[in-house]
Symmetry: C2
Subunit: 139 residues, 2 copies
């Protein structure tokens, strides 16, 4: 889990919560509120500090392109191998999708070979509208 020196109660709480929500991008406020609602509140400062340490260790990522002003965090699931593929986020319902198919891997190769650009999967999110939402007429 975390590689910091001490394995505190708060870190376990935060990490477990992220693990349960590994398919979501959540802001600090959302995480703090959820933890408080679960009866295991953690200080905002602690949250920010621990999340940033997870990000710098490469265990989580931090994204801001959310129309919101605040950053969203997500655990980079090792089993799902999240670092090896891109993700799409529906701007309507917020659902996050993994793009792990063969074709999409060839996209990375195309961009590398034809555009000489190395994609950073952990910093990139493709935004758009998923089928559920476009069926409902969402934008």
């Amino acid at each position: 889990m975390q590689k910091s020196t001490y394995n505190t109660k708060q870190k376990k709480i935060i990490y477990n919560f992220l693990l349960q929500n590994k398919d979501r991008l959540m802001t600090c406020d959302e995480i703090a509120d959820s933890l408080k609602a679960e009866g295991t509140p953690v200080g905002k400062a602690t949250l920010y500090r621990f999340l940033d340490s997870l990000v710098s260790l490469g265990d989580a990522r931090k994204l801001s392109n959310e129309d919101k002003k605040c950053a969203a965090y997500q655990l980079l699931d090792k089993e799902m191998n999240c670092k090896s593929h891109l993700h799409m986020k529906c701007t309507c319902c917020g659902e996050l999708y993994h793009l792990g198919c063969e074709f999409m891997h060839s996209v990375g190769e195309h961009i590398l070979n034809h555009h000489q650009f190395i994609i950073d999967n952990s910093k990139t999110v493709i935004y758009g509208v998923c089928k559920n939402c476009s069926a409902k007429g969402g934008i």
Copy 2:
């Protein structure tokens, strides 16, 4: 240019500056500082208000995923048809690249057909490292 009611001096200044820098994603501070340096300073509040109106009119876009905490803006160039293709930004040098080739258009179709997801080109930026920077050993 802008569809707001009055065509003021400040709006012209801001719009022309964005036009000259249409290949860059710039923060409010950068824009304000540049305009001040050019001897045509514009108030921050005016900048934020006009940029947001351009964004809601679809003439510009606002992105935040910049490691920076603040948002970056860019005019959506109609001649380049920026809304019809994706963009890549080098996290090292900041350069913005247009991905207007045929293959990349087929990516949009693949994602639509196989993942039932409609990409929003104006909200998406692919992050990574360009050839110049990887040659220099950049990350």
